[in-house]
Symmetry: C2
Subunit: 255 residues, 2 copies
């Protein structure tokens, strides 16, 4: 893989050798105005289904670009099934939460509205664009699924009884997350996927904690002696899950 | 601990029951204009040496406030000795890196300038203020030590040969960090402290990687198959260290 790749782009189109694909106006603008790319430049494309492909820029204008698909660089591999349910936080930490969750390999994102959640308007288009940009940068082959925002009770009602959900709770009687993950791992190899959940600034209310603990699939977990902000808790929990259950022991491709 | 605490503040002064302490103009402004605090309001104070103390606001003006120290709430406990050396990144991700590192319990921060480090001007006053604010929020009893920025070679020359330094390296032949930490842990209970190091955007140069790998205290480590941004790598590494070597199995105080 000595070929120098200009950049990695996510596209919706099917990818197969010898075909031509039109890029979005945004990608055309990015290639032309930011990267100053000219025809002949090499790109990598992925669509979440067909693996990663080497492509060559064929034609480029202000708002359009087309590329010729050359050869496959990597086969599609599934990401570990790791869902994150999170109470939305303010703009800057939420941007961070989304970007970092994608880098840490989350497979699905569920915005969940709790009693103390502030700012319950979720801009789904913006979140989707952020997940795509983060996936392009971190060499993932897929984009996490982005679910619609739902209220806590509705979210819990829709969660499968057999899928473990580890809820980061500052208060009460919580097991350290590492312990909970190890215990779960020995009985269930995560075949059906697992979920992590973090609360809003200010945490879950005591009634919410009672409701959560009554669900058979919920384990209330802790993340140590310091009080973590919501977005920090999410990233720490994702990291530990990937280390104990997921793929953090693997190496990057092409390296 | 039923007493409702208004906020937690870091002060430089010695803390002992029955004494009076003057707060900084910034804290006075914060209490008066942001929290609308009146005399009699309860605060918690810590100074990194004497534990955490309950205090009562005694007098407050526009730029000055004094508090009466009442009783000790928590004894001073040492943080695990976990140092982070990091190549500075851009403003927003660096703000995030500093804040999250403090939440995740880092005991010392070393800005390190590498070949590909962009923006080598470190605003030490700003970083210090960020570490204090993060410590106030996360219920730590100490502020991480903030070292002056140094070039990579000088930093490595000053690092003790007997203190393990785990360097997150995207390229080359790296051990997964979890494995490296477990192996180290079995031979050395981290009594003298350990360090983690992350590179700049774009990573270490190949010459830097060679230089790093020649140091007896360095282990090059990996963080999984996705390419993490510098600040994400730092937070993931700190989380794993706290889980495997540090205190992530403990619970918050007062809970």
């Amino acid at each position: 893989m000595a070929e120098r790749i200009l950049t990695r782009l996510f596209v919706e189109a099917a990818l197969a050798g010898g075909t031509t694909v039109d890029l979005s106006p945004e990608h055309a603008h990015f290639l032309r105005s930011v990267l100053r790319a000219a025809p002949g430049a090499k790109l990598a494309l992925f669509n979440g289904r067909d693996g990663e492909w080497l492509a060559e820029l064929d034609a480029i204008g202000k708002k359009q670009a087309s590329v010729m698909i050359l050869e496959k660089r990597r086969d599609q591999t599934p990401s570990p099934a790791l869902e994150l349910a999170f109470a939305p936080v303010k703009k800057t930490p939420m941007d961070f939460l989304i970007q970092k969750s994608v880098e840490l390999g989350v497979s699905a994102l569920h915005p969940v509205l709790t009693e103390r959640t502030q700012g319950d308007r979720i801009n789904a288009g913006r979140l989707r664009a952020q997940t795509i940009e983060a996936a392009e940068q971190c060499e993932r082959l897929d984009i996490p699924e982005l679910h619609e925002a739902s209220k806590l009770e509705a979210f819990l009602d829709g969660w499968p009884d057999t899928k473990p959900l580890f809820v980061c709770a500052e208060a009460g009687d919580a097991t350290p997350l590492t312990e909970a993950l190890m215990a779960q791992k020995s009985t269930d190899p995560a075949a059906g996927g697992q979920g992590l959940m973090t609360g809003p600034e200010g945490g879950f209310s005591s009634q919410e904690l009672v409701n959560l603990s009554e669900r058979p699939f919920v384990t209330l977990v802790g993340l140590g002696p310091r009080i973590l902000r919501a977005e920090t808790a999410a990233l720490a929990a994702l990291t530990l899950w990937q280390a104990i259950v997921g793929d953090l022991g693997l190496r990057p491709p092409h390296r």
